[in-house]
């Protein structure tokens, strides 16, 4: 069962007494073949969980870096079915690394929740994060996922009150994604001490591992966050490498650059006990 893959991964990470490295890249940025190489590079350099971005024309929770990545991917013609095919290709060789599809509700809704759930299960997707589908609106999707064991990964934020965290936890599975700063992706970073209480509350109420993201770019920042969470999510810093490679006209270097950053981050996380 897919959720099992997530559970197994956190068991392993816990046994190694460290935090999980969760990485985000945009599928099809700048093309699907490069994305495939990138996924392999992430896995080979210590990414524990991979979030695969599905592009959307109106990414209202994302900062400029991920907005542009989505536009590059759409320009290259990436469709939701292509993102699923990319996941399937990766899953054919890698049976262990959890794959989370991350994006917005409309493309999934448009495909139909049932049809999407079937294709996602077939592609070896373990969970999804749909940013604009809060707990109030995701029960139809959860029903569609049930028979395949796909997780709905929920978000918690500094604005999530003590009362509300129970609502967020109810029906969540896999892990919780704790958004460290109120804002869009790639904006400012949080002081781990400021969110420690919120993260602990999320862990306690949900009984799930809690991964912290937004504003984490470097090994040093990741190590600092690792002290208070079960996992650390890095996205914009990876996506920036795609842009930098494209700007220097060197598409061939993308997987290498991204692998390099994954190495730096995973090495930094090995030094901290979670």
């Amino acid at each position: 069962m897919p959720t099992q893959r997530i559970t197994d991964r956190f068991d392993r990470v816990r046994a190694e007494k460290r935090a999980a490295l969760v990485t985000y890249v945009m599928a099809g940025d700048p093309d699907l073949e490069t994305s495939y190489q990138t996924l392999c590079a992430l896995r080979d350099n210590g990414a524990d969980i991979i979030e695969l971005g599905a592009p959307f024309t109106d990414p209202m929770a994302d900062g400029p870096a991920i907005q542009l990545a989505g536009q590059r991917s759409l320009k290259a013609g990436t469709k939701l079915a292509d993102v699923l095919a990319l996941a399937k290709r990766f899953r054919a060789e890698d049976k262990e690394t959890p794959l989370i599809l991350m994006g917005y509700a409309n493309p999934v809704f448009h495909m139909g929740y049932a049809a999407f759930a079937e294709s996602a299960a077939d592609a070896g997707i373990d969970g999804t994060i749909l940013v604009d589908l809060p707990p109030e609106e995701d029960h139809e999707l959860r029903e569609a996922y049930e028979k395949y064991g796909i997780s709905v990964i929920r978000l918690a934020t500094p604005t999530t009150t003590e009362k509300r965290i129970a609502k967020v936890a109810e029906g969540a599975s896999g892990f919780l994604y704790y958004v460290a700063v109120a804002g869009v992706t790639g904006a400012g970073s949080a002081d781990p001490e400021d969110i420690r209480e919120g993260v602990e509350r999320a862990q306690k109420v949900s009984g799930l591992p809690v991964c912290v993201g937004f504003g984490v770019r470097t090994g040093e920042q990741a190590a600092a966050m690792a002290g208070i969470a079960d996992g650390v999510v890095v996205g914009t810093a990876f996506v920036d490498h795609v842009r930098l490679a494209l700007e220097s006209g060197d598409t061939g270097s993308i997987a290498g650059r991204i692998g390099g950053l994954a190495k730096e981050l995973s090495t930094a996380l090995k030094g901290v006990s979670s």
Partner: protein, 403 residues
């Protein structure tokens, strides 16, 4: 469905109009949306809030707006009496101020100290900047970069009123991108900022709240028509972009099943060309900007840019209550092309001495068919929701005239 308490009971407690509406926002915004709903419920019940609104509507906006018998238009179309609800005479020149005042007063009740808004043509931006100037609140307006260039007079008006204008070049630099950017600002400044949405769309409670504020249009029109003609109209009619002026006119008639509700969407270059803004006639259900509704989208669920000669209708979605009224058949939704709107703009100007905005010109363009269907003794109200001063430059350009 039951005969009574059917149409006016929506939205339900989840913010749904049938299957449409809802609260599709990121978790960071959810607590605020829930708080807003609570505050709005309290304000709605508070006689002091209602009294404050009435006072501003009367003395600041100039309400009630007249219900005017457009005799020459009626003659032109061969019979039925056409009445214009003159919301173009409001302060700032359109119906937008009805809603902005309500939301800004609510923001003050909630202790918010900063206002943001999105705007396309600039009418909602000007109305929001006006309300902010009146109450001394800082105001930031997000506007597509191309619209900033096209709508210079409104940009200048907003600046005079003290608003900060943020040109948005992300995405395709249009109204929907301005709305994305406003949502990004809101999520970042959620602690002190109130987002004044300009149309009856977005996450619950916005569609309900904007509808309620705009319903002053229909309440007045209903009362005025009963006074003038001693009976209800056979049809009420309005143009539709997001649909706030239309729902404001429709809603007080919604339980009067003998009254036809007729919306007119912008067909741009024609529905068949794909270059239009008619979400109900040329779109499919989807999820965007906090609600489930009809959207212009590709077969992969990506949002398509809208096109209309009228910047105020140039949006790929529509308020969720209209989606519901369409699917249930309670309201009818027609379309009008850019060219038909231009013709209607000129017709109304010549026959009635009223220069309409290009938005209501879309509704004017469909008066002929609607009048034919009503017969000689028919009675019709059309919402003249904005005046055309802002449009004279683009109309001149389309007509090939120099000014």
């Amino acid at each position: 469905m039951n005969k009574l308490n059917t149409w006016a009971q929506w939205p339900d407690e989840k913010g749904r109009f049938g299957e449409f509406g809802g609260r599709y926002v990121a978790e960071t915004l959810m607590p605020l949306i829930l708080e807003l709903e609570e505050e709005y419920r309290a304000a709605k019940k508070d006689p002091a809030f209602a009294a404050q609104m009435d006072d501003f509507w009367e003395h600041y906006v100039g309400r009630p707006s007249p219900l005017y018998h457009a005799e020459r238009m009626s003659e032109h179309f061969g019979g039925p009496k056409i009445y214009f609800k003159r919301d173009e005479l409001n302060h700032t020149g359109s119906h937008k101020i009805n809603n902005c005042l309500g939301q800004v007063l609510l923001a003050l009740r909630m202790g918010k100290t900063r206002i943001i808004a999105e705007t396309g043509a600039g009418q909602h931006g000007v109305a929001t900047a006006t309300a902010c100037a009146r109450f001394g609140l800082p105001c930031t307006v997000f506007m597509g970069a191309t619209d900033v260039v096209r709508q210079k007079p409104n940009v200048f008006r907003m600046k005079l009123l003290g608003a900060e204008i943020v040109p948005v070049s992300s995405g395709t630099g249009t109204l929907k991108d301005a709305m994305n950017e406003a949502l990004r600002d809101w999520v970042t400044n959620v602690h002190d900022t109130f987002y004044v949405i300009g149309t009856a769309a977005g996450p619950h409670p916005y569609p309900e709240m904007v509808r309620d504020f705009q319903s002053v249009i229909g309440k007045e029109a209903r009362r005025q028509m009963l006074e003038r003609e001693g009976r209800l109209p056979d049809a009420v009619m309005a143009c539709i972009g997001g649909g706030s002026n239309a729902i404001g006119l429709f809603h007080p008639f919604i339980e009067d099943e003998g009254v036809r509700l007729i919306g007119v969407e912008a067909a741009g270059h024609g529905i068949e060309t794909g270059e239009h803004a008619a979400a109900l006639n040329g779109g499919q259900p989807g999820i965007l900007h906090g609600n489930k509704t009809y959207l212009l989208q590709t077969d992969d669920g990506q949002i398509i840019d809208a096109h209309s000669i009228s910047a105020g209708l140039d949006y790929p979605g529509i308020g969720p209550e209209h989606a519901f009224l369409r699917d249930t058949g309670r309201a009818e939704y027609l379309t009008c092309t850019d060219k038909e709107a231009l013709d209607a703009f000129q017709l109304c100007t010549r026959l009635e001495g009223i220069i309409p905005a290009l938005e209501p010109a879309h509704a004017i363009a469909r008066l002929g068919e609607v009048c034919d269907s009503l017969g000689k003794d028919g009675l019709l109200i059309m919402n003249l929701c904005g005046r055309g001063d802002k449009d004279i430059f683009s109309v001149a350009e389309h007509l090939g005239m120099d000014i």
